[in-house]
Symmetry: C2
Subunit: 549 residues, 2 copies
């Protein structure tokens, strides 16, 4: 570790990927150059009703657009690539990624009609690219999507390794084992900072190999009598390959249902990551095959309402409906929060007589404790920062690093928006960027203040009460009009009368003072909110509108 420039520093800026799953994006800044590692989205939950997706806050990137030299993408999952179309509207910057990852990104860009001017640089494991003041080597890792890589980023201060999402698979479906030699070689030369995937940092042992599922699939295929329906993530190319291989072994044909999966299968087949030879048939051909010759692969492992599996269960699929004799294999773990939706789909399918396999037909794509220890042990980083995971996962990973011998003071649990300063001798928090949540709904992006979402939450729980007052030349005309939606009290005549009376009395007072109508509406709204709460303990959303006649 000689020749390190001691006066220099690197900024590490996680804009996502910490504290909650999803939306991975990290900036690394060194002597005026910035690279962006991954650019993902996260998906909405109960707290963000009606939102399609959540993208990173690009403010810092916008303010520093001239410094940004490249986007480095570790693999093709939505939480690592989904934000790229939105990023490219802000800045035009080359994208470094492996072949399949580029294919998957291009498919997203095409959806956004954004493909024209984008520069892609295809990288391969062990390629070294000099980008601005950074020298970046890509290292093969295993994960649930093919062609994943880690990045070893070397600067004048030292080397940073960013693992991306990874596991260690000694018998991967595509034969491409994680390049442990490279991790160890960097360890031997000296790693200043390791950023490592924490998703499974609470899970003991070693994550099983993807190919350990082969036997289970064969067992289920052997005992099935009719159609086989397999639900998996659209991006899980290895899983799709295993199902296709098993289908081939049993002389069955495979139908791919659903646009996202069809696209991914097409990209992966074209690029040579998936071998569908002689197995795939078009969905329209399915009816000319007997049930026992058919395997249908589609999305729906989380019970998503628009997925192939849900539609087959609830009878809204264009081609297939779950029936007696079907065997359904759900090859994924359920994501916390989705259990009820998935249970509903499973119960419905079972009530039609389907046999449903829902447990243990899955292996994780993320490293468990022993694998994390191994990477820590071979890279021997001076500083360590766990990434990708909730606080508890980061904490567990930090403890693990300590137990492996990294000094507690050299381990950093950061938060999204932290600006961390890394020198040869130190790794500290310097500043914090306040990050907004940027919601995307259809073609609209916005709601940085969260007003749309907070109004929706109020209406979801308490409904809306609409009070309309007509005013002419400073006088109230007639009685206030009250309408409600989603309110249990809607037939409570006394309550509605009381609200009308209160609104009328208050507006009369205010009209005398000749106030600005927007202020009058707001004052009335607040008064009615207090009245409603006093009378009913409810906090329905109140809309007051004053209309000049």
């Amino acid at each position: 570790m000689k020749n390190k420039i001691s006066g220099q520093n690197i900024s590490i800026i996680p804009l996502g990927g910490l504290g909650a799953i999803g939306k991975n994006i990290t900036l690394i800044e060194y002597r005026g150059d910035i690279i962006i590692i991954d650019c993902g989205i996260s998906f909405p939950d109960d707290e963000t009703p009606g939102v399609d997706l959540i993208i990173p806050d690009f403010s810092y990137i916008r303010e520093n657009r001239k410094k940004i030299k490249a986007v480095i993408i570790t693999h093709g999952h939505e939480d690592h690539i989904g934000g790229i179309p939105y990023l490219l509207r802000e800045i035009n910057v080359p994208i470094y990624a492996t072949r399949l990852t580029i294919g998957l990104i291009q498919s997203r860009l095409a959806e956004h009609t954004l493909s024209a001017d984008v520069t892609f640089i295809e990288v391969h494991p062990r390629d070294v690219h000099n980008i601005g003041r950074f020298s970046i080597e890509f290292i093969r890792v295993n994960h649930s999507v093919s062609d994943g890589v880690a990045a070893a980023i070397t600067t004048g201060v030292g080397t940073i390794i960013h693992t991306g999402d990874f596991k260690i698979d000694f018998s991967p479906v595509d034969g491409e084992v994680i390049d442990l030699y490279k991790f160890a070689e960097y360890g031997e030369r000296g790693v200043l900072l390791l950023l490592s995937d924490s998703t499974n940092a609470e899970r003991p042992g070693f994550t099983k190999s993807e190919s350990s599922l082969t036997e289970k699939l064969i067992d289920i295929f052997s005992s099935s009598k009719g159609r086989i329906i397999v639900a998996t993530f659209a991006s899980n190319i290895h899983r799709i390959q295993q199902v296709v291989d098993t289908a081939r072994r049993f002389n069955k044909k495979v139908v791919i249902s659903g646009l996202s999966m069809q696209k991914n299968v097409e990209i992966s087949t074209t690029l040579g990551y998936l071998n569908m030879k002689d197995s795939i048939i078009e969905i329209e051909q399915a009816k000319s095959y007997p049930d026992k010759k058919l395997v249908i692969i589609g999305t729906g492992t989380q019970g998503e309402p628009m997925s192939a599996l849900s539609r087959m269960a609830f009878g809204t699929h264009k081609h297939f409906k779950i029936k007696n004799g079907d065997t359904v294999i759900i090859t994924a773990s359920v994501i916390p929060g989705k259990e009820k939706m998935l249970n509903n789909v499973v119960n419905t399918m079972m009530s039609y007589g389907a046999e449903v396999y829902n447990d243990e037909i899955h292996v994780s794509g993320h490293a468990s404790i022993n694998e994390l220890e191994l990477i820590l042990a071979v890279t021997k980083p001076k500083f360590f920062m766990p990434i990708h995971g909730e606080y508890k996962h980061l904490k567990a990973h930090a403890k693990l690093a300590e137990s492996i011998g990294i000094k507690q003071s050299n381990i950093m649990i950061a938060e999204n928006g932290d600006i961390l300063e890394l020198t040869y001798n130190s790794f500290v928090k310097k500043e914090k960027i306040e990050l907004a949540r940027i919601y995307v709904h259809g073609s609209e992006t916005g709601d940085t203040a969260g007003k749309v979402i907070s109004d929706r939450q109020v209406m979801a729980n308490e409904g809306v009460l609409i009070v309309t007052l007509l005013v002419s030349e400073g006088f109230l005309i007639g009685n206030p009009e009250v309408r409600t939606r989603g309110v249990f009290d809607e037939e409570n005549i006394d309550l509605i009368a009381r609200i009308k009376k209160d609104a009328a009395a208050n507006i009369k007072k205010m009209l005398k003072k000749n106030q600005n109508p927007v202020e009058v509406e707001e004052t009335l709204r607040r008064g009615l909110r207090n009245l409603l709460y006093k009378l009913t303990k409810r906090n329905s959303l109140i809309v007051v509108q004053i209309i000049e006649v």
Copy 2:
């Protein structure tokens, strides 16, 4: 099995407890007499926003009020007793239950100021009560709340056993082992129908004894340095006893936080089901003890926002705030759908430096596969109907019964609202009652049609668009007024202008025809809904109001 009256039949009418967890209630009707077994509530989920609870549909009970002889309660959990206050507003009927269960019911009734005229009959295991044309013997079972019983209901046609919720615990905290002899004795004499708890019918093996947690608690208490905070269900008296016993062993004092838990502890202590001697202190006394002498027990195992644990985590608890050095033990499994909320609480507590134990410090209160097999084997029922569980649990339990030797044609997977006819020789579905979901929100009960909830769901996802039109003597006055809340397009001026134009044009046409205003509003609403969907692919709730000036 002699002397059975072959011409007679019994109706079994599950009004809850099948298809989804919660709200257990079953009616048994024989020769004009009806008994009700359990009367629970279920709790709202994502699909019922802003609802406090869901009670059974009492229509059938209301229509047959004269036939109803008794309510039999198996144990004191909300999903078995919570509906009683609402039932008692409909009919006055005696309640048969064990001592602790009566205590817990009385506490609920007091909250509803409903305690005066209710008749309770305290029952004990092996008591036989003749109620109308039924003879009912109560049988001790184990469960996560004390004093649970099963019911053996004998009629002229035969005996029905209803297990309630149960497990088999050979070393229960209160020493009261399930009365396997009684189950076997009925089996020996002949059981016509068994209704048995299916909650854990997919779980292999034997559920562990409640007292197996003692050792784990001792381990955690030994390694803790500061305060110990234990979250459990308010009704889990055994668990509270174990924590108190462990606290006593370590010479620590116990504080009970939260009204529901304080009430349950008080009832259980008064009735002799809980021994708090020398251990409990008032919450106000806590500050005079050092941290290492304190154990705080409260609710919050599911991350519920108003629970003691959440309030301690987020700093809104009146007395305690989670801090560095605290040890938090969450002694429950998380209910599907609550994972995100609980994770949020756990992550927050860990970020303050608390040690959190969240895995495996819990045993289930329900029987696993081996226990279910045992009950099936000793009762040897002619007919079998799995109860309590989702479809997949009922199905798994049905398969288990078949594997134990019960004829497939004698096993019934029913649905809530089915009227099932049981004779000595047959068990078949006869009719189906359509059940409404009855929501309770504060003091209001209603929404049988689900309109309030469906409007809330739409507003949660897409917001509301309010269009107001002023009309005088058959003419539109001025421009339509448009307001939105929770809509991303709210600043889309073109869209709003288009809506105003469309609404104006349509109402002018309709005003010429002199239609009824309610119909005009509805027609306008439908037109605007289609327009909005065409332009934006959104389905915001649309409120149209026409005001006569």
